[in-house]
Symmetry: C2
Subunit: 214 residues, 2 copies
Amino acid sequence: MVRAGLTKDAVVRAAADLADRDGLEAVTLSALARRFGVTTAGMYSHVAGLGDLLDRLSAFCLEESADLLAAAIAGRAGPDAVAALARVYRDYARAHPGRYAATRRPALPDGHAIPAGRRHADLARAALRQYGLDATREVHAVRLLGSTIHGFISLEGSGAFAHSRPSASASWNAILDALAATIAGWSPIDDETPPRSVRAPAGRRPSADMGGET
Amino acid sequence: MVRAGLTKDAVVRAAADLADRDGLEAVTLSALARRFGVTTAGMYSHVAGLGDLLDRLSAFCLEESADLLAAAIAGRAGPDAVAALARVYRDYARAHPGRYAATRRPALPDGHAIPAGRRHADLARAALRQYGLDATREVHAVRLLGSTIHGFISLEGSGAFAHSRPSASASWNAILDALAATIAGWSPIDDETPPRSVRAPAGRRPSADMGGET
DNA sequence: TAGGTTGCTTAAAGGGTTTAAGCAAACGAC
DNA sequence: GTCGTTTGCTTAAACCCTTTAAGCAACCTA
């Protein structure tokens, strides 16, 4: 009886790849067992069940994307940091749709995804640090950021923007400009001249390199 | 052999109620068959399969919410129409989480949900009519609206705002104010003085009656 | 009232999850 | 090195869900 030599980590990584390849609904214990040449019941040696696997997958993908976020935000502030954060999310979702879908699953209480989720919230607050928002407005801003970014990505991913002009990326740029302007308008320091049209505020030019118009 | 007397419509309505009660994942042909006192295979007399049922359910809920949207928007314009539209979506999602979840499923090509989805897009454009946006900015605005509203509702529904202050409704109001201000800023007619803080633009007061702080 | 249509049934196959019991490979201790 | 324990896996079995096929009986219509 040769052992397959699985580990918890290998299982979660295989689940992530399977999710990207065939969709999150396709990640199933029996599909993974098939891929590893192992019986389905054997998977229970590494994972407590499907729910546990999905929770671990969610945590794994949240940590992975949090690493990307941290790297992208480092050394940036204000609108640049916000644009970098948004771009990481969208790029991650487009490059890894299954992994991204895993991050959007509601985290189960006391599950592995909870600390990873908190990390994302912390990173969002870090990206907003320069604005000097008061506590309440900071929470509003974090929620506005999350709503807009994840809402757009969700709609884009479900093909809602596929069959109409202008391109999704054009709207993405316009929306990010508006988002940055709104938050700047909430800021006590950057309060002098909120931009009034789709023109970007001075000091950033996100449109030129945000995802290349597709 | 007494017949249960089912119809396609009764099945879809039962599916909608089941979705609200137990979640969209719980709507299954066998669960519905159980509820009707019928064998699972018997459901195939009314529905081509689970996929077909979910597509019909999605269309049903989209039509239902579109009726609410149409009624709420009628007689309103500008920020009032936008606020009314947003409120309908959030209220619908909170009163009928399963039905709302059904509306968020990606519509399958040539499925029943396609025309209903188009109706939603048309209603969003109607709500924006007064702003007199050019074609491109109108598309941006529709996408911004959808991203923000559905993004917020999705995060709220998954409990992301549950354990922190201020309340989700406070953020909702702040976000809607910002949204209206952004769109007003894109408008050629309402272009004089975009609001610069969370203060609402003149002529609306959404905060007072938007869902009662919970 | 004699059709045909249609709303159901039984039967069966296939895929997924999960638990229980057991065996053998790997590992740590001596 | 072998011994005992741990652990990675297997087989077996129960349960749930979907879907197709075949058939029968209730209902509608002519």
